[in-house]
């Protein structure tokens, strides 16, 4: 923290407060809706954020009362982790509102319980499996955007010849779009289990095989479909959330909010 002239103390406090707030929001930017591969912040899910001392309270709301409990749980626990990793926060209290399982999710995340424990007897599918399924989709979606861009710039053959070393170099490219898409793809490409050696192919299928020129049209088609599905779904969520905020159904306005549970 910079040394301050005593007269500037008040302004500095508020600047500090703003700074901490911005840091919490930046931490929340890293939390993705696993189904949509979009940050919870840009999706508009964060309704309120308050910071008192070393405690942050995050209130979030999803597009509908009946949005999937598993994704809601994942986002809530990821939010807690992301915010509690900040050095000036000890406790991040995450509160999902207007959702059929809000009480269970809020209590479960606060207690550090796993999804299976919270929804024992109700959910048979392992949450990690769902997370993996959607990570794969997100991987394909990110690959599609970058691959399409590079194929447009360099031609298909050269784009497919991109290695991991080339990707690292692209990460410093002076074109914002190239750099942004590379960064997003690279973050997932490194964690997909396949070789990330400098000479390894950058663009691979889910099985880890390099995408070939011959296989490109079919591969691109599958990628486009996966990305298109996620994007259309994200748009639907945005529309529903906007509607929920701007035109709440009578009885469902924020002042009529109830602590919900699915028991």
């Amino acid at each position: 923290m910079p040394l301050l002239e005593s007269g500037a103390r008040g302004t500095a406090d508020s600047a500090d407060k703003e700074g901490r707030r911005a840091a919490v929001m930046a931490a929340l930017d890293t939390v993705l809706d696993p189904e949509l591969d979009e940050p919870v912040t840009t999706m508009g899910f964060i309704e309120a954020l308050t910071i008192e001392g070393r405690t942050a309270e995050i209130v979030f709301r999803l597009p509908t009362f009946w949005c999937s409990a598993n994704f809601a749980f994942l986002m809530a626990s990821d939010m807690r982790c992301a915010v509690e990793s900040l050095p000036f926060i000890d406790v991040a209290s995450v509160r999902l509102v207007d959702h059929f399982a809000s009480r269970k999710i809020n209590q479960g995340v606060a207690a550090g319980l796993g999804f299976a424990a919270v929804f024992s007897g109700e959910a048979e599918t392992n949450l990690e499996e769902i997370r993996r399924t959607f990570r794969e989709r997100a991987f394909l979606g990110r690959q599609e955007k970058l691959l399409r861009l590079l194929a447009g710039l360099w031609g298909v053959e050269q784009a497919l010849a991109t290695t991991m070393a080339d990707l690292d170099a692209l990460n410093g490219h002076d074109n914002d779009e190239v750099r942004g898409l590379t960064l997003r793809y690279l973050a997932m490409r490194r964690h997909e289990g396949s070789s990330a050696a400098p000479d390894a192919a950058a663009f691979i299928t889910l099985d880890g095989a390099p995408v070939t020129t011959a296989g490109y049209p079919v591969h691109l088609r599958a990628l486009r479909s996966a990305r298109g599905a996620a994007e259309a779904n994200a748009e639907m969520c945005r529309l529903y959330l906007e509607a929920r905020i701007a035109h709440p159904a009578p009885g469902c306005e924020p002042e009529n909010r109830q602590d919900e549970d699915d028991d």
């Binding site: 409990a69 109700e122 088609r221 259309a232």
Partner: protein
């Protein structure tokens, strides 16, 4: 009947409608409110501002309201009803076969009534299906794999319990199986929105036609892949055409995928009424064409003939609905053949 500016008459089948009752007096609990609230978000989000209803009408529009929205204003020649029970949320149910039957009684020549069944109900469910069929003689049934039933939080079409129900449908002459694969009620399990189980049942029962309602949204890419391989799987579009106003780009993208993988003969228009009314969707869809890049990806040009098929002729074939001569395709000989064949199969089974 929709008439294009050029004077072409288009036969319209709305292949996905409801007649629901979400009035306060029918709500069993707060879920009854929050469930219709989710639908309301869809109505507000998707419907052009000047076409939106007020919330009270949205909760209950009744037989006459539906007739006006569909048959008078909405260009609809035939409407296909998809029941949903939801007795846990609503005292008399939300949109049961019995509730839907009131619409069928009032407009017997315009309404196609479907039944519903739940393979988890075992022998009792089979008897119920038989009794319902005796009463209503429906051509199709709806299955809702994500629905809760006692301790079960959903099932898949791979489960052994499903086959006896499919066999019973064949025995009764029910040939259309609607499967709700879209945004779910009370979703907890991955299975609730997995569409891959359709593959299994479609292969095992090739004489039945499987309509996947909402095309598996949000798993529309999985759906395209499966339906591309199974000739007896159809895409019930309901929800997808609703994007045409608020998000036309995504509507175009999804339609391009569906046409590429399924072709023009297995897509069924549906408005998902009363989520929204068909009027504005029909108008916008008839005026719609792909941007150049998506036209290439769709590989099927969106000609008037293709629009005729999606708008009504495909559903007419599936449900043996009479099509006025002016609305048929120029070369309809092969289509008639298939209808006759399907009728023959029903007669043989009955």
């Amino acid at each position: 009947m929709y008439v294009t500016p050029q004077g072409d008459e288009i036969f319209v089948v709305d292949a996905h409608i409801h007649l629901w009752d979400a009035r306060p007096e029918n709500r069993r609990n707060r879920y009854g409110l929050t469930f219709i609230e989710s639908f309301w978000g869809s109505h507000v989000g998707m419907t052009p501002k000047e076409q939106r209803w007020d919330f009270d009408r949205f909760c209950h529009y009744g037989v006459e309201g539906a007739a006006k929205d569909l048959f008078e204003d909405g260009y609809v020649d035939h409407a296909v009803m998809l029941p949903t029970n939801l007795h846990d949320f609503y005292v008399d149910g939300f949109n049961t076969t019995d509730q839907c039957a009131a619409f069928k009684r009032a407009y017997p020549d315009k309404v196609v009534l479907n039944g519903r069944c739940d393979p988890r109900d075992g022998q009792r469910g089979l008897e119920r299906l038989e009794a319902d069929f005796e009463k209503y003689k429906f051509k199709g049934v709806k299955l809702y794999t994500a629905e809760w039933n006692g301790v079960s939080k959903g099932y898949t079409l791979r489960d052994d319990i499903v086959a006896p129900y499919m066999e019973k449908c064949i025995e009764l002459g029910i040939k259309v199986i609607h499967i709700h694969k879209g945004p779910t009620i009370h979703p907890l399990n991955l299975d609730a929105f997995d569409v891959r189980d359709v593959d299994h049942v479609a292969t095992a029962f090739p004489t039945l036609k499987f309509v996947v309602d909402h095309c598996g949204m949000p798993r529309i890419d999985d759906f395209c892949w499966i339906a591309g391989q199974e000739p007896n799987v159809y895409g019930g579009l309901a929800l997808i055409p609703s994007f045409i106003h608020a998000r036309p780009k995504y509507f175009a993208q999804m339609l391009a995928d569906l046409l590429y993988f399924l072709g023009p003969d297995r897509l069924l228009f549906g408005s998902d009424y009363g989520i929204t009314s068909p009027k504005w969707i029909v108008e916008k869809f008839m005026a719609f064409d792909f941007p150049e890049d998506l036209a290439r990806e769709a590989a099927t040009p969106l000609t008037l003939e293709v629009k005729r098929k999606i708008m009504g002729l495909n559903a007419a074939k599936l449900y043996d609905l009479p099509v006025p001569a002016a609305c048929r395709l120029a070369n309809a000989a092969e289509d008639d053949g298939e209808i006759l064949l399907a009728r023959g199969a029903i007669d043989a089974a009955a």
